[in-house]
Homo-oligomer: 270 residues x 2
């Protein structure tokens, strides 16, 4: 889970995502709309009898806030809460398992803020069943072929892996960048990602507010997407001052065509 504003536990329930599936929570920064729902979610996990560890990644100070509230409520969790506090201004690898890596993307906001880059690791090669059968490879080697190894066929001949397998799907990647002023320095790090979520608080008519509030316009977000050559751009964090969200698309798409708007409970598949 990335960020956790007030009411996240209600939204999570509504979205039908199983609470137990949430094992790692990444908090970009300590403003309320990104963070005030975390303590409630943690408490509800306790009420639901959670036993699995919960890892929380976020700015330095997050551990103090959460533990102070648990302490004053005498409401310690019955599962382990493991904090990973962040204070580096350079990108960092903060999580890795066999399938995915998570890196911070340092952003430019009024308080210390990180975006997060999720990079899937390359998957297994895919079996070319027809070619493998024709090459007289025994079924028992199919598993091994997927790992990329060459194998010996029934005639004792070594068969090169590439001749009987297809390459794996290209790994997906997702960059979450919110909240931030326009920061072109992030472009190299997010180059070519499958999907970029970038905040777009303002339209161009309020460009002058970006410097003070450290937010971006839709056009700036689209410029980042274009420069980074991402596959798709998802805009969010819209100001409530505009009557129509379509205007964000109207300003972003001339710069980066494949732009979409984030909506509550909308699912983007990639």
């Amino acid at each position: 889970m990335i960020d956790c504003g007030e009411g996240t536990q209600v939204a999570l329930r509504k979205s039908k995502v199983k609470f137990a599936r949430v094992k790692h929570i990444f908090i970009s920064h300590l403003h309320g709309d990104h963070f005030y729902g975390l303590i409630g979610l943690i408490s509800t996990f306790t009420l639901l009898g959670r036993e699995a560890d919960l890892h929380i990644y976020g700015p330095k100070g997050i551990k103090e806030i959460i533990t102070l509230q648990l302490k004053l409520g005498k409401a310690w969790t019955n599962y382990s809460l493991i904090f990973h506090e962040l204070d580096s201004k350079a990108p960092q690898l903060i999580f890795e398992d066999e399938k995915v890596e998570v890196h911070t993307i340092p952003l430019d906001h009024r308080v210390y803020t990180n975006g997060f880059l999720f990079k899937e690791k390359p998957g297994e090669r895919k079996l070319n069943l027809e070619a493998a059968v024709a090459a007289k490879i025994d079924n028992s080697y199919f598993r091994k072929l997927k790992t990329g190894a060459d194998v010996t066929n029934r005639d004792g001949k070594l068969i090169p892996n590439e001749s009987v397998t297809f390459p794996p799907d290209p790994p997906s990647s997702y960059a979450f960048c919110s909240d931030t002023a326009y920061k072109p320095e992030i472009v190299p790090q997010i180059q070519g990602v499958t999907a970029l979520y970038h905040e777009a608080t303002f339209l161009e008519e309020h460009l002058h507010l970006c410097e003070k509030t450290k937010h971006s316009t839709a056009k700036q977000a689209a410029t980042i997407a274009k420069e980074a050559g991402v596959q798709q751009l998802i805009l969010g964090h819209f100001s409530t001052r505009y009557s129509s969200l379509e205007r964000y698309l109207e300003e972003a798409r001339p710069v980066f065509e494949n732009t979409h708007l984030a909506e509550d409970f909308k699912v983007f598949e990639f």
Copy 2:
């Protein structure tokens, strides 16, 4: 406002209560369902440009939690936030103006908890217009009559106040008691209140859970209401384990007939 669970700002908006009308917030204890929405409400007040002072009454520690979150989010309010931290185990007068007094009601819960007793002060006497006219009292004295003073009529005769006014409505009072185990010691303090809200987490079948969790049954709440001779009892803080809330009434009403169930957005007038 009494207590402020997660999502209170959303509920408040839905209830159409003007945010600016909230000037004093009384927090009974530092458990999430009574308190986790406070920081979000405070932050939203800032976004809405609030300038009026906000007074917060609650257990010792509440100031540290709130200010720590504002500090780490660099999100100081642009209005004054005035904390009144409570740690006394005896009832205290914590607020008073020309219309109302607020006293704490020390309760028995897993953490330091207070209920709150709101006592309206006696209002003005009501003019008996017919009698005042008959007694030849000039209009200009009507205001003075309401304060209880005797006045001189057009003939120079002193008219006793009671002969031309009615007594004021009896002052209302409201006792909020949540969360708490059965605590008969509160009975003298809440004697005869107009309305008592008392938690009723459990039904009698789970009476054995009350001691450990420091909650009450519906019947215990009704017993408090009966002993205190209150006018009406409102039950709330129901466990989600029961399929029907009617069962709370079935167990409370044989002990105290004028019992009602609290519901989201339900208004009780008194």
